[in-house]
Symmetry: D2
Subunit: 371 residues, 4 copies
Amino acid sequence: MRALRLGMVGGGSGAFIGNVHRMAARLDGQFELVAGALSSDPERARRSGEELGLARVYDDFAQMAEAEATRPDGIEAVAIVTPNHMHAAPAKAFLERGIHVICDKPLTATTEEARDLAAACEASNALFILTHTYSGYAMVRQAREMVARGDIGPVRVVQVEYAQDWLTEDNASQQAGWRTDPAKAGAGAVGDIGTHAWHLAQYVSGLEVEALSAELSSFVPGRRVDDNVQAMLRFKGGARGSLWASQVAPGHENTVRIRVFGETGGLDWTQEAATQLSFTRFGQPRQILTQNGAGATGAATRLSRVPAGHPEGYIEAFANIYAEAARAIRAHGSVLPDGVQYPGIVDGMGGMAFIAACRESSANNGAWVAP
Amino acid sequence: MRALRLGMVGGGSGAFIGNVHRMAARLDGQFELVAGALSSDPERARRSGEELGLARVYDDFAQMAEAEATRPDGIEAVAIVTPNHMHAAPAKAFLERGIHVICDKPLTATTEEARDLAAACEASNALFILTHTYSGYAMVRQAREMVARGDIGPVRVVQVEYAQDWLTEDNASQQAGWRTDPAKAGAGAVGDIGTHAWHLAQYVSGLEVEALSAELSSFVPGRRVDDNVQAMLRFKGGARGSLWASQVAPGHENTVRIRVFGETGGLDWTQEAATQLSFTRFGQPRQILTQNGAGATGAATRLSRVPAGHPEGYIEAFANIYAEAARAIRAHGSVLPDGVQYPGIVDGMGGMAFIAACRESSANNGAWVAP
Amino acid sequence: MRALRLGMVGGGSGAFIGNVHRMAARLDGQFELVAGALSSDPERARRSGEELGLARVYDDFAQMAEAEATRPDGIEAVAIVTPNHMHAAPAKAFLERGIHVICDKPLTATTEEARDLAAACEASNALFILTHTYSGYAMVRQAREMVARGDIGPVRVVQVEYAQDWLTEDNASQQAGWRTDPAKAGAGAVGDIGTHAWHLAQYVSGLEVEALSAELSSFVPGRRVDDNVQAMLRFKGGARGSLWASQVAPGHENTVRIRVFGETGGLDWTQEAATQLSFTRFGQPRQILTQNGAGATGAATRLSRVPAGHPEGYIEAFANIYAEAARAIRAHGSVLPDGVQYPGIVDGMGGMAFIAACRESSANNGAWVAP
Amino acid sequence: MRALRLGMVGGGSGAFIGNVHRMAARLDGQFELVAGALSSDPERARRSGEELGLARVYDDFAQMAEAEATRPDGIEAVAIVTPNHMHAAPAKAFLERGIHVICDKPLTATTEEARDLAAACEASNALFILTHTYSGYAMVRQAREMVARGDIGPVRVVQVEYAQDWLTEDNASQQAGWRTDPAKAGAGAVGDIGTHAWHLAQYVSGLEVEALSAELSSFVPGRRVDDNVQAMLRFKGGARGSLWASQVAPGHENTVRIRVFGETGGLDWTQEAATQLSFTRFGQPRQILTQNGAGATGAATRLSRVPAGHPEGYIEAFANIYAEAARAIRAHGSVLPDGVQYPGIVDGMGGMAFIAACRESSANNGAWVAP
């Protein structure tokens, strides 16, 4: 099966997430990166393209969309890995030309951009995939599948957290630069990692949040965006939860954890032991379910590449999003194969609603706000 | 050094916490249990007293207070281990007679009883010790000491949780009986375990909460008290936190965890690895500090009984409360030895204020309430 | 039920294991320490006795055995907590007078002493209990019970280790003094901790070792005893195993771990998570069995003092040896209650045979030696 | 930089390790798979080639070596992923034509084949890389680097283990088929996983084993190769160690752990937490060093792809072997870049010597044998 032709917007040398997208795209051999508008600086764009051995290097995304759309061997999908305020415009340009878009999260920097982009998705026949990485972990998928099939009974409580420490102090790195710039990021921790936690909470529980009460803080002097998020969640149907996202939590390099408790059991997953899922049927001993091991569900097995006991990690989870994207793209226009799924524009709009609701609630002394 | 003479109210055969108090009192040989009013059922009281080899068995606490106060070899302290609604009356009876009181938590079932008891403490020269067990763990003490001496810098974020699963279903046990009876317990999870979490949050951080926003839930059909508590915390000085207490969290047998993050470092303690304290100075590798091991502070070492690597647990933590009580009782009237401390009436009143604030906030759609 | 009257030989102030014995004896209220010959230095003996509030203090064990045996309220059992070379003589003195002996391990410093002591046990009607602490852990008992009832099928492989680091450097402490003195300890790591590992391996697996091949090392310059033991084990019936005991393993404060693998399952226990037992039926997910929790066997429940999730540790395990001793002493002359068991002279002789076999094998280039 | 052209021998559809090699080769974009002799069954070879989108599919390796060596765009390296008895012949065929070889381990099925292959390596100018995966883990590299620079002082004790459970019962899978066939595998656990443990022990400690004493067992009825290996190790210079490799250890899906203890500190690494390295300087608290985190050495950082806290796993470790191979291939004929290293023919011959020594020792009642 030939690899799909992929382009990339952003991700010039030195970028973090651009390289992650490239590894994820390469891992399963489903994509071949052939074109890129890797930087707004033409010189850097050219150099980066050379380093990557790209067939076609463009100065900007508009030029790239134009040219690729008309080539017989043009790209079939594009990865957008720019800062948040630069998601909407390129995504629209490619969607309008029928090129599938794989876009980093959060969706955009502003609600207006998000609406625009949603409209473009609506108007286009092309697919839009949002890289909510953590839903790509095999055992997260398994957790969702187990909740859905009733293994823990109706859900009562959801506890989700995403904690980092890299912004504990003022940070002059390129990464921190745009991520703490309101104009480029749109939001701080609430957008950068809070949206992941938010997505996980609903993805795994299968429930929608109907209201949240939030408190955003900005602890580092001079920081212009939030760096700590506390929120209480009310789910439709009566479940309750809490969400914590922080970038000022020393000792947490990048902890993502979700726990879901139901009437008859509980699940506990953390990225630090990503290939495991702790499962307790109430009244029975806790079980450690493992990726591809005894107790693995179909969802987890389909997303596993190596036998049980061989750890897979973040890149593999990211690659699962790409692999699902490839399956969806190949099936485009016909029926999606069983079980294939990926975060899309709806999840992206949900994340934007979460950001907006957190801000509104926080600005109103923790009032309950519908996201 | 001769053991202090101890009496006990409640704790007849089959009781859980009564036996814990007895083991805690015995472990270090500082107390000798000599008298008891172990049950409101005289027959059971007598039988329980016999099983324990008690010198003097009483039918009720009033009789016991009266008699012991006048004997030359009367008890010097009494442990009160009855259900919550039966704390205030016996405590007052002994305090009024100058007998030190070691009382289980939460303080009382109602605010009125609490105020009464506080007044009795005020009027008495005797000591009042509240068994907030978790502050008896050596590494919890160390955490408090490290925060106090600035090891993690000014505190920004406090995350505390206490999760159990034993009330996931309707539960007909004697334990569950009174703990889910509003008349006897006064409150549900918020009182039974929430007060522990609340105490820990302030004890370790050294900060006071100035307002909280809470959501109490009662998930089990027919349950008349709360069984799940979500709360957001605002500390004086600007720190933020969240508290979760649940008795319906399958997989959590009895998880207590507190994390405190400051400007320069973070601490993480959980009862599941009670003799360890995870400590990170921002920018340096995480360190695993151990009880009595390298990196142990004076506070932790003083409360350790065995060398590093030999686990101590819940009973030892409880015994530390008793050991501190013994030191305080022996020093009574003169200067308390360096470092000796124990939870007292102020902590008890704080816990009652927490319960009341959670209820008020929850009844008012999560309004911020000062505890 | 009245407490049994206990005496103690050794364990003067500052001693480590003497205090552990006292806490273990006190915890369940089954013993009352009333007499002691706490030190060979009469002045220290007197002072220590006073600190402990002992009724009767003796200058030496012979005097104590003599006196206590003739008193109507004389001790019913004695704890021997001296260095190894001082176990046999006092043990014999008390056994000969029909006083039960609870003795620290290893049995003695030399094989000759051990034989003498075994003969004294044979000749006496009194009980002899050896404090192999680790077999007192509830989940170790459960492991033994599970193996015995076939939960993992016939045993194939046993891996046991006991690793410490406190003797990594030359160590001038009182503890290290006698423990690294061949005349007082008899052996180094092989005796002090190797015998624990050896006991566990056979206790849990229910199998006897028929031959071992060992390599003893002494890494610290000037050390006169071994400080690292490697051994391969051949069990009767064909199972194989390995044993590692080390006192020069930085990072291991006091790690004890035993794994037993059978034809249909495996068990894994480590003191660092002493209230858990990891159990895998081949082909099924790993289960975390917990003390007093779901999946606990009768053996474990009988030895648990608090509900699941409340950690018990080293002192509780030690206290379980004492509690079993008390039950055996109380039942002495009639039928032992169901399930009551304790390590005795046979285990002690086994440990001595292990030490001798390790030395012989090591001196003969790892020749296989029957213990 | 253009990708290197890679061929593959073996690894037709359904094969486990072939796909791992392909993912490892793809991950960093350093190799492009263009040709293959994927199966000895021509029909399966063709089908597999098609599935992989290979440019050139051959019926057998000889034909492939011949053809590729003469094409201007012929492969520059070949991955050999056949069962062990099929390593030597293809490896020689490519080496003789100057094509670099990346070969799975163990080196060969027999000592004779190994010698042949070593001679071919000697005679060829091409590189030979052996995929000892575990030495590709960033934190294993860091451990080696730390030992080498003296962080734990001179090494005293090395404990290594590799435990699996998939062969606990007779197993009819394709994988188990050849791995338990003496003619195809050459050996059982000792070759398949024992060689990994053996390699790690020497790789991390930087020491050579001068003698070993081993006991091989075959527990599953009818199994014709060993499935459990116990060994004691004597290193040059006096260090001691033990090695355990087992495929019948229920509960161990694929546990690899190495601990190295020196005069001033200790290191502990296990694949289950592959991005961490536990490090203790004697007398100081244990530190958890993390991949790309605080305390990471240059070796670890060079092999990390994502920031600290984002788990990397088995595929990334494997890809590190490929990435180092690519660097070595690109630098071939000139100076190897700083720090680049990979397991080669010497390691392969060492593994064969280990297998032979284990067998000889085991057949001679555990006699010490020089590998």
